[in-house]
């Protein structure tokens, strides 16, 4: 059993499938009157967030609480980090407080890997810079499996700002482990040249969304991350929306069964139009609900037993 979840590559097919199966059981708890399980009673989970986040932090908090763990929320604003404390000193403080798991989001790629060497507890990467976001990939895989019944053999198009997207990286790794084929679609400036093949052989790249759409089972739209853009990667937002935005006519070119995903938060009108986002093909709200179940499964598998 793995001790940390830092990357989509930490999971082999069997472990990933076990997490998805466990998540399916955890999902039934959401429908019960008593939405609580005693599995992590007396364990402490620290949410260490150096970057703004709504859904991921709330999702991890809900997941830990449904498993009866104690949750300590830490955000860089209003903490000693504002006074200049280093990540290592913060980690040692958490260690001294007896954190069994640290869920970390950090603007620097690789921060969770460093953290994992400093603390005794499990570290879960909740997004590091432009690197990885493995629980998002797991919840995306869970959503695909519950909508389409399988993952192996699916053709998934990941569309948009791949360069800055940790969601894309983790998804490429996990989906190829689980036997799906991924095609990355976006403007050449937003797709790293060598990364797709390095992440997972068999990953395709296309710069033309319209030719890819008719052959896919899943379209995953990525958010255009304006806050990460110091340079102009495309001439204008309108041009981006016209070439790579998913609108009604494009959606109708998809196969009948295909679903539309988005990790959120959306820029409506930029990479996705409201017509698509609110259509029955869109799984965006489902993804949020599934996020809690998947994170419960991850926390249970990391903390539930004696895995030291």
């Amino acid at each position: 059993m793995i001790r940390h979840l830092l990357s989509g590559a930490d999971l082999d097919a069997a472990t990933a499938t076990q997490i998805l199966d466990t998540a399916a059981e955890m999902a039934t708890v959401a429908g019960r009157e008593v939405k609580k399980l005693p599995a992590l009673r007396g364990r402490t989970v620290v949410n260490l967030f150096y970057e703004d986040s709504t859904r991921t932090r709330i999702s991890f908090e809900a997941a830990a609480k449904r498993l009866s763990a104690d949750v300590i929320n830490f955000s860089a604003k209003g903490s000693s980090v504002a006074k200049g404390e280093s990540l290592k000193d913060t980690a040692l403080t958490l260690q001294a407080m007896g954190a069994d798991a640290v869920v970390v989001r950090h603007p620097a790629s690789g921060a969770p890997h460093r953290l994992a060497n400093w603390v005794d507890g499990s570290v879960v990467n909740a997004g590091d810079g432009t690197h990885e976001h493995p629980t998002q990939a797991l919840l995306d895989a869970y959503t695909m499996r519950s909508r389409l019944g399988r993952i192996a053999g699916l053709h998934v198009a990941v569309v948009g700002d791949v360069l800055h997207s940790r969601v894309a990286r983790s998804n490429v790794l996990l989906l190829s482990t689980l036997g799906a084929k991924v095609t990355l679609v976006g403007p050449p400036t937003l797709i790293p040249v060598d990364i797709p093949q390095a992440l997972a052989p068999g990953t395709d790249v296309s710069y033309d969304l319209d030719t890819v759409l008719p052959g896919v089972d899943v379209v995953m739209m990525l958010r255009v991350q304006r806050e990460r853009m110091n340079d102009s990667y495309f001439p204008s937002a309108r041009e981006y929306a016209r070439r790579y935005g998913l609108d009604g006519p494009r959606m109708r070119r998809l196969p009948e069964h295909a679903i539309v995903m988005h990790p959120g938060p959306m820029n409506r009108g930029m990479e996705i139009t409201p017509e698509v986002a609110d259509s029955p093909r869109s799984t965006i709200v489902e993804q949020v609900a599934n996020g809690v179940s998947v994170r419960m499964a991850v926390l249970y598998l990391l903390l539930g037993g004696n895995n030291r």
Binding site: Q18, D21, T22, M26, T28, V34, L37, P38, Y300, G304
Partner: protein, 194 residues
């Protein structure tokens, strides 16, 4: 201080295996429990059978099938996974969670009969009672087991017992069922005496 040497060196201890119930016995025992349930529950009215995985589940299904043969009543059968309620989670590597599958009418106000293969320490049943209170509020809870081997560590007893097997702590009881293991049998392993 040493014990006096044995008169002749004893042969290495072979783990002994003793068949307690053969296939025909298991089926007779299940029939008897089904009759007892009908008798004690006034014809299995408002009764739900919940099997505890792994082997409690096929046992619960068999009991329901026998009850419907004897009296022509249909007893809802469900599955209650207790993994997340165990008190020994932290002593082992993470256990896989199985499905919990309750009858569509739920268990509120019903007489729930928990079904398991072996009653030993009582800790599984304790976990099942906790799990039960999180999924509903039954009117009453009873317990049916194929084998009671004693050595309780909690104040728990069974309402329906297929077979009482007096055991030593070092011994182990293994139930196999056709549905899960290919054949019906109850065996007692271990102990020095054959």
């Amino acid at each position: 201080m040493a014990y006096p040497p044995a008169a002749h060196p004893s042969p290495p201890r072979q783990p002994s295996v003793k068949v307690i119930l053969a296939a025909a016995d298991v089926s007779r025992v299940v029939d008897r429990i089904a009759h007892q349930i009908l008798e004690k529950t006034q014809g299995a009215a408002d009764t739900v059978l919940l099997g505890i995985p792994t082997r409690g589940v096929p046992l619960a299904k068999r009991l329901a099938a026998r009850i419907s043969t004897f009296e022509d009543v249909t007893v809802p059968v469900g599955v209650l996974d207790i993994t997340l309620y165990r008190d020994d989670l932290r002593r082992h590597a993470t256990r896989a969670v199985g499905p919990t599958d309750l009858p569509s009418d739920g268990i509120d106000g019903k007489r729930v009969i928990l079904v398991d293969d072996v009653l030993f320490s009582g800790r599984t049943v304790r976990a099942a009672l906790d799990a039960l209170s999180d999924v509903g509020r039954p009117a009453s809870v009873q317990l049916a087991v194929l084998v009671d081997r004693g050595h309780r560590q909690l104040p728990i007893r069974a309402d329906y017992v297929g077979k009482n097997i007096p055991t030593a702590l070092a011994e182990s009881v293994k139930v196999t069922l056709a549905e899960t293991d290919g054949a019906d049998e109850v065996k007692l392993y271990g102990g020095a005496s054959a």
